[in-house]
Symmetry: C2
Subunit: 465 residues, 2 copies
Amino acid sequence: MRPAALDAVLADLRQHAASHRASLTEFVAIPSVSTDPSHAADVRRAAEWVAGRLERTGAMDVKVVETPGHPAVVAEWNGAPGAPTVTVYGHADVQPPDPWEAWASPPFTLSERDGRWYARGISDDKGSALIPLLVAEAFFRHGDPPVNLRFLIETEEEIGSPHLGDVVRRHADRLACDMVLSADGGMWRADVPTITTSTRGMVGLEVRVDGPTQDLHSGRHGGAVQNPLHALAALVAGLHEDGRVAVPGFYDGVVPLSPERATRLGTLPHDDDRYADAVGVPALHGEPGFGTLARQWHRPTLEVNGIGGGYQGAGTKTIVPASGFAKLTARLVPDQDPDRVARAIENHLQARAGEGVRVSVQRSGPGAPAYAVRADHPGLSIAREVLETVFGRPAETVGMGGSVPIVTTFRDVLGADTLFFSFSTADENIHAPNEFYRPERFELGLEAWARLWHRLAESPSSTSP
Amino acid sequence: MRPAALDAVLADLRQHAASHRASLTEFVAIPSVSTDPSHAADVRRAAEWVAGRLERTGAMDVKVVETPGHPAVVAEWNGAPGAPTVTVYGHADVQPPDPWEAWASPPFTLSERDGRWYARGISDDKGSALIPLLVAEAFFRHGDPPVNLRFLIETEEEIGSPHLGDVVRRHADRLACDMVLSADGGMWRADVPTITTSTRGMVGLEVRVDGPTQDLHSGRHGGAVQNPLHALAALVAGLHEDGRVAVPGFYDGVVPLSPERATRLGTLPHDDDRYADAVGVPALHGEPGFGTLARQWHRPTLEVNGIGGGYQGAGTKTIVPASGFAKLTARLVPDQDPDRVARAIENHLQARAGEGVRVSVQRSGPGAPAYAVRADHPGLSIAREVLETVFGRPAETVGMGGSVPIVTTFRDVLGADTLFFSFSTADENIHAPNEFYRPERFELGLEAWARLWHRLAESPSSTSP
């Protein structure tokens, strides 16, 4: 083992700025839109591009792993005996660029404007996923990385990672590690370094209310049969009461917010009025007794994502509609069980169906539990220390309101916790036109990943909590 | 004045059966689809065809009256001084035949199958509207009709009669009468003669709930902002309570159902189980304390005709939607005021908007009040007596759950009540493929109209209640 000197690696990273930008330009030029079958070859090309970069280290064992869908890249290097092992997770697929006309520059061409780099997928997740690849290359140019490395770069993240769990299980030996470092996830704010320690889980259902066999004339029949949309509205309205979810058992197992965490949330740079303005609502609304950040990160919620039934065109159509439906998703927190939550919602809906209609409830999948890194996970303090070094100010601990089901798989299959270590930020128009990335974040990210691996090696116990 | 003998007229009607069928064949062959601009010339042709038939009497003063839309036909004959004056109302336009492929025979060709005549518009309203034209012709062949006659045949009924009120007001002098006889309306049942004495009114509104400026990621924002679909569901659910409309003031002015009428309704040939089966609902549902027929004819109702918002495609989309809407129509009974009812609903919705969303309510028009012929209107007993003579069994008094706004205009402008005297029945696939008419009803209708005019002339006081 010939450990590379951190100073040399950091200097190398600074010297290669132009080449890094060229690499990112290449990466974003591949239109790896995973949801569009006509881009399947491009998605594969993105996986092969990643594999090629890893092979350029000359030291890693790299495989493009096939799935029934798009491939994944699995790579490993075991040259640091006794040092911790980290698995880097990221994705090389992107959202569709539509609507094209809303882009100020071609989506698959890196364009710099006003100190920002614009391109589809540059923030989610190509820019942030490229960082650890470049850092690994830099280490190998000067010797050996300080930790054993695995890479798992998938190309189906934007379609819900349907085959990733299977890839992890099939390659559990190669991916075995002390800690997963996710290059996906994104920081909360552009103006403050943050480290994400929890994600919410999710479970989805669709409720359908059927009444008459077909739409009925509301003059002839109105008043004599139950209108399925009345029944549907009552069911949906009955899901909440006074800002709380009214489904019995919904909150079972919810880990209460500690007073310390609640206090800490109060000190984060968040302003309710500015947030309400930003999303365009006249006032905020949520569960009583909790602030906005607690509601977004640490409390479960039940949302109607869509509702439909009857006539939706212009003007009036005087019918008693035959049916209606509502699509529901619940965001879960530790330690809610997705299956129990779904059953509680199903039971609640069926119990309140009322006469004159048929209510059916269908789940949209098994759901995923919430995830949280233990607050005393030693990797956390190292990551926080590194961020403080790089940003020159303390990092805040934040939650993620969204769901990243794969972290549960990492814990279950690999026995490893996941630290989110991404240098994207939430405001970079991901999934929208004019997605961008901040060049200064890219640079800070390179330094931070190099320092993180270095510090993890200095504190091997940190990775085996 | 040379009054035609009733017996001669009845014999004449029987002798002309083949010619009547030929006339109806001609009439339905005109594709007078009023909603389709490409059929504007056909609609005009239908009006001119009607005008031509009326001119064939050689006695009537006939005008095709222009409107900003499709024309109407106004005709008058004043040769029965001292006798009552009746205005015959009907329409010559039809619904679109779509879907064409669902028709067993070409929609604009009269086809006889299994003792029924099939064609678009043959039941609604060409068959029933042709009857009084043929009866007038028969009377004029044998002398003078017993009553003074006006005809008002419009061609915009299927698009909501937007210009008919104006036609009635502009031609109020020519249309002045003691009683309007509507050839439109339809009987309740094929197996029992009925006379319709009331229609429900209507008023329509659309409620819209706006939340965030655009759809939000339900993970990032769920729980922190009010979901417009939660608010919408609560608003819609709050419109009803225990089967009654929960809007304060909604029932203001509603004329209670008399115990006599309630008892009479109970004797009508209606079976709740068969009705529930026919419309396909597991159970009936409506306002407590009233039976199905009372709910349909004599009680007001508030229906959601359509609801929509958020994601309605396949699968799941995890959003907090920006907005949602519901389309509402209320069916009204005497003596509800459409404007007051609409305002009550608007106020109720606004008062319950809740925080975090904006609620807006828009009316879909001025609405129309309900209509009822006075129970002691002498024309009613004559019509009932004629139906009993023709059908050989007593006629029942029924209501119409739907709305016929023009009858209010007739009362307001002409000072005349309207009797529905149609020989269509409600089961004849109107507005649907394979619309049909019963030849035996056509024959009975011809006899009934001849007898009705004759009897009205015998009891002139009957028409000036």
